[in-house]
Symmetry: C2
Subunit: 412 residues, 2 copies
């Protein structure tokens, strides 16, 4: 069973907004065995939209459209779908009542323009929108099912989950399950070298990889008659990949370095204090992204100036004068000072030159020192990072979290 995913919106086709709906739906479809073969973005040009949809219903078993069902003149998905189906638009009394009720509940008057959101191609089934005013709809055109959802991601996802996904599960007669094993600390080529025999094209499971912001995700994707069979197929490969890559593996699927480290701290009852210079709060921010981290995270200090390093972390001014703020002795003193001042199990630190200015021949942009202090001593590491300011800060934070992860695990 094949699907095309269409996103409607002039702001999308003009590049003013990034389309994330189609990727979300693609992952969802693949999980239930529907193969996404094409994504299309089209603007509010009705002729172009009609042409896309006429072609799509011929080529695919399922077409999911997001967007273009708001109340404004450039919302043309309703009439486009009606034209392709060769039916008129008709107003749905129940849907209209629901929209009017929503406005009443907000204490606002419904503008007449909002009534068009209750218009649907004749014969279409309405899909309730529990989070907004624009209902979706679904209809059959020849052998193809068309499903129309709003462009607002939160509304689209809620409607997909509640009303569309359940009706499609099992419809394709097969399932594709994909899982990823997430790695950090080596380059993409080193990782693929270790598993290249598993990456042969056409193999089932299919093993591949993607690299994004220095995190390498090894993906194992299996196709089978049922979801359970597909899961069974990937389990051996997942174990093999994990065993070959060892400590480079920090988690799987949606795991991030911070979610894994946060989980380790919380589950082991460990506390932490953070001292940052060049990352400017990014390490603390990432750790506190994790719900429940208040059990572990005591405090973070962004000691951007040298005076702050001394006043807040107790770094001796002589250390800074002798070695410079970006140096192993200062990173060590920051981590140990952070640990001591908070009375935490762990103190971690990062100091470096994120650029674009501030580099020297001896201490170039990208030079970063990180340190992890615990009762078992202090681990320091010098990093030489490439990229722009944002990339250097990102990589520095990731390396620090990864060294902390390995340190926690080594204490087991």
């Amino acid at each position: 069973m094949n699907a095309e995913i269409v996103a409607a919106g002039t702001e999308l086709v003009l590049g003013e907004r990034i389309n994330t709906n189609s990727a979300y739906l693609a992952v969802q479809l693949a999980e239930i065995g529907v193969t996404p073969v094409l994504h299309t973005i089209v603007g509010d040009d009705e002729e172009a939209f009609v042409a896309v949809l006429k072609r799509a219903v011929k080529e695919s078993d399922l077409v999911i459209i997001t967007g273009g069902i708001g109340p404004t003149l450039d919302d043309i998905t309703r009439q486009t779908a009606a034209r392709v189906a060769g039916v008129p638009l008709v107003r749905d009394a129940k849907a209209l009542e629901r929209i009017e009720g929503l406005f009443r509940s907000w204490g606002r008057e419904m503008k007449p323009s909002n009534a068009v959101q209750a218009d649907f191609p004749k014969g279409a089934a309405v899909i309730d929108n529990p989070r907004g005013t624009a209902p979706g709809f679904r209809m059959r055109v020849e052998k193809c099912e068309i499903v129309v959802l709003p462009g607002v991601p939160s509304e689209m996802k809620a409607m997909w989950e509640a009303s569309v996904r359940p009706t499609l599960v099992g419809a394709s007669g097969e399932a594709i399950v994909a899982k990823s094993i997430n790695c950090f600390g080596a380059g993409e080529s080193d990782i693929t070298e270790a598993i290249k025999d598993m990456m042969a094209p056409g193999r089932n499971p299919l093993v591949g990889d993607t690299a994004e912001d220095a995190v390498i995700k090894v993906r194992v994707r299996a196709r089978a008659g049922t979801y359970d069979e597909a899961v069974g197929l990937i389990e051996d490969d997942m174990a093999e990949v994990r065993s070959r890559l060892g400590q480079l593996v920090f988690g799987q699927d949606d795991d991030t370095l911070e979610s894994v480290v946060g989980g380790l701290l919380i589950s082991r009852g460990l506390t932490i204090a953070v001292a940052e210079s060049c990352t400017g709060g990014l390490v603390s921010k990432r750790l506190t992204d994790i719900s429940g981290i208040s059990a572990a995270f005591i405090q973070g200090i962004v000691a951007y100036s040298n005076a702050s390093k001394t006043a807040l972390l107790g770094v001796a001014p002589k250390l800074i004068a002798d070695f410079g703020a970006v140096s192993e002795p200062v990173a060590r003193a920051m981590a140990e000072g952070a640990r001591k001042s908070a009375g935490a199990d762990y103190g971690i630190s990062v100091t470096g030159i994120a650029g674009p200015t501030g580099g020297t021949p001896e201490k170039p942009v990208g030079l970063v020192h990180v340190a992890v202090a615990s009762r078992r001593g202090t681990t320091c590491r010098e990093l030489r990072l490439r990229g722009d300011r944002a990339q250097i800060r990102d990589r520095a934070a990731k390396h620090l979290l990864n060294i902390l992860r390995l340190d926690i695990l080594s204490g087991d």
Copy 2:
């Protein structure tokens, strides 16, 4: 002059990676008067790719393809373009030499598989890739020009800028210029209400808006014979929008609240210290995203625990006991403590309940107090924010930065 933008990659069509290349190219094309009418994403299915490209060259004057020109088996853009043009692939000796030279300069041996990156449809012009091993190419098929660039965004953008954009400027005979005026502090409907007469469809300039993460961008887009004429057309509208929206406007185009606030601090020689609880370092992180901020940013303190609020910011334990950590008195004490301990011109603070847990009937998830302290006194604000943990943290940081912005401006 119309264009279709095609992104090739199985990881894109399966939704495992978000496509940002097409949006980048769409904005670039619109600026030089080429209208993007369709974006398509296709995987490594050669028949599907051929069908897309055959249709695209009939419908558009220009087709830009990104991706699928790497060395692996699933990189099929070269042969697809050759099939659609009806020509064979031929190896380009100069391109091959350049790829071999790159590997030599890295001290690595070129694998035989990399040689396919020097294969091009016969008659195509090679586009140098200054940042990677995969050269692009361009060719004419019937009345359509096809331009092929790599999928790696940094390589694609460098090649677009250096080799493609300059050859297309002026080719369309018209220019579209779009600028945005960035607003914060009011809902989308309040903002559009103030400018609704300017938002009439078909008007030139066309005025529209997009909302993303509580920032409303009012876009003014003009079409004219030349770039300069189009710029002239939008200037009056830009001034009118700014005058109607007043203090809600914080900047334009790529300006963010932090870049604007950072710029204000640096240009006025003001210093700042940050005290955060629920945002966990996000405010400090955003301010230190700005290159050159070290002149203004002294330190940030993430006082997550009550003990840290007392030890690092001097918040009286009785204040926390009497009013709770999430309260106006504690926000005020945090901001004033941050200012004092750093000796800064400004101390700013945020304390709140980001959720999903920790809320009570009196202090629900989303309750946030922010404060801005300066020599002119302390401004406090209570916020009631909606959304998930990440959204509440994001909005809290934005409100705080915006209040700081207004405070700095009010001191003029």
